[in-house]
């Protein structure tokens, strides 16, 4: 097998007659940190949602490790066990305490005994620096805290890859930093990450590769230094000038 953890080959995705993704080819190696950026509606979120099959692709093939994403439920379950996801709107389960949010999938999906699940949960809550909030409910936490819990929840499943879908877009400015810190720590530890984000500072310091998407296509793909200092494509230049001028 190749060492690529994710392989997307000629992937198309349609919503009705609207083509959201066109001929996507992407390989992500173990330990790589990828940042995807692009204007809204460019298909960034759709791309990463295809990776754990929250969206079904229409053409092409997607492999996660040795599993191909098909209609087979077994494969999808196997992929979801390996791929964690962090959402823009946190999506913590509102009826469960923080620690329960972290335990439920461990117990149900990984069949881990309760005590051990709690231990793991507390370990990761400590890592995202909010162990003291364990018994509270999601609404009692700030947005930044909720997103850190959501990251901890994904980590509890010990995934190979974590997908971040605009993790800081719903946050107040003063809370963006604390979430990015947690993500940077993760990157340093060698976690394979794909982040859809507009945080260019994060992209510059953390990413191995930056991918720019527009109208459902991958337009440009480069190392961050090259991407920011010397963009090749006109659309990339325009986007960067818009996003960096203020």
């Amino acid at each position: 097998m190749t060492e690529a953890l994710i392989r997307m080959q000629n992937v198309d995705k349609f919503f009705g007659s609207f083509q959201a993704l066109t001929n996507i080819n992407l390989e992500v190696k173990k330990g790589e940190r990828i940042v995807i950026c692009g204007p809204s509606g460019s298909g960034k979120s759709t791309l990463i949602r295809c990776i754990n099959r929250l969206e079904e692709h229409n053409n092409g093939r997607i492999f996660i490790g040795e599993n191909e994403l098909t209609d087979k439920v077994k494969n999808i379950d196997a992929v979801r066990r390996e791929v964690g996801m962090v959402f823009q709107s946190f999506n913590l389960f509102p009826h469960m305490t923080i620690v329960k949010n972290l335990m439920i999938a461990q117990q149900l999906v990984r069949k881990i005994p309760k005590a051990e699940a709690r231990e793991t949960a507390m370990k990761y809550l400590t890592r995202v620096k909010i162990p003291e909030q364990a018994e509270k409910y999601p609404v009692q936490l700030s947005g930044g805290q909720q997103q850190r819990v959501a990251i901890a929840r994904a980590l509890c499943m010990k995934p190979e890859i974590i997908l971040f879908d605009e993790p800081t877009s719903a946050l107040d400015p003063e809370m963006i930093g604390e979430v990015l810190d947690v993500m940077t720590d993760l990157a340093k530890e060698g976690m394979t990450m794909i982040c859809v984000t507009h945080e260019m500072g994060f992209a510059r310091s953390v990413a191995d590769r930056v991918i720019f998407m527009d109208e459902g296509e991958i337009v440009e793909e480069a190392k961050p230094q090259e991407f920011f200092d010397n963009p090749k494509n006109e659309r990339t230049k325009k986007f960067l000038s818009q996003i960096l001028t203020h």
Binding site: R80, F87, S89, N91, F93, Y137, V139, Q140
Partner: protein, 231 residues
């Protein structure tokens, strides 16, 4: 009020019948509501149509008409069948308590159908997606995520459905159920004090409504512990 003195125990037993009808119709109402909601949410066009017809008919028809139709309809059918075997039989009916219980459960069940359907669809898609992304199966997502979030959404309208049920029990007196309103009319025929006697009935129902309202409020508070808080 001294006119009521001799009638307290009749009122008490009348109230017990109200309670009995309430509990049985509550169980049936939940059942009808869940079946109706499941049919509306199913992929089958026929099931959707049937459930749609059920809610339109039972929400749009006066309650009293449903009760009378169900009671006399079943009585006519039963009598006709019985007369085939024994022409001597003049009248055979489903006991009013059962005809009435089923009738009001059918009526309020039509409202509950919409409540359950709305609650099912009202669960935030984000929670469901997060559960899927964590690898939880459809069944696990349903049991651990959907149901607990659903009941919180359904609770306030469900409290109103319970109030409708308790108030609709009064209508069953019209087909001869000896609940409180029926007791009152008997008391009036001997005492000639309709205002006093019906006022007692009103007070009894107000008591039942209060108990239901308070318990629903308590349950809502319990459910709300996760939605309000220091922010």
């Amino acid at each position: 009020m001294e006119a009521v003195t001799g009638w307290w125990d009749d009122y008490f037993w009348g109230s017990m019948i109200v309670v009995q009808v309430f509990f049985f119709s509550l169980i049936l109402m939940v059942l009808f509501g869940l079946i109706g909601a499941a049919m509306k949410l199913s992929n089958s066009k026929i099931a959707q149509k049937i459930a749609g017809g059920y809610t339109v008919v039972f929400r749009g028809t006066p309650e009293i008409l449903v009760i009378l139709l169900l009671y006399f309809g079943s009585a006519i059918t039963l009598t006709a069948i019985a007369q085939i075997f024994n022409p001597e039989i003049k009248f055979l009916d489903v006991p009013p308590i059962w005809a009435g219980t089923i009738a009001i459960a059918l009526i309020v069940g039509a409202y509950a159908t919409e409540t359950f359907r709305g609650a099912f669809q009202g669960v935030k898609p984000g929670s469901i997606e997060a559960a899927r992304a964590l690898g939880m199966s459809n069944l696990q997502t349903f049991i651990y995520i959907r149901i607990p979030e659903m009941w919180r959404l359904a609770l306030p309208p469900f409290g109103n459905h319970m109030l409708s049920l308790i108030k609709d029990t009064a209508l069953i007196s019209i087909i001869g159920l000896n609940e409180t309103l029926f007791v009152a009319s008997q008391a009036i025929s001997t005492t000639g004090k309709p205002f006093t006697m019906y006022l007692v009935v009103g007070a009894i129902y107000l008591g039942f409504s209060t108990i239901i309202t308070l318990s629903v409020m308590g349950a809502e508070k319990f459910g709300e512990r996760t939605t309000v808080g220091a922010r």
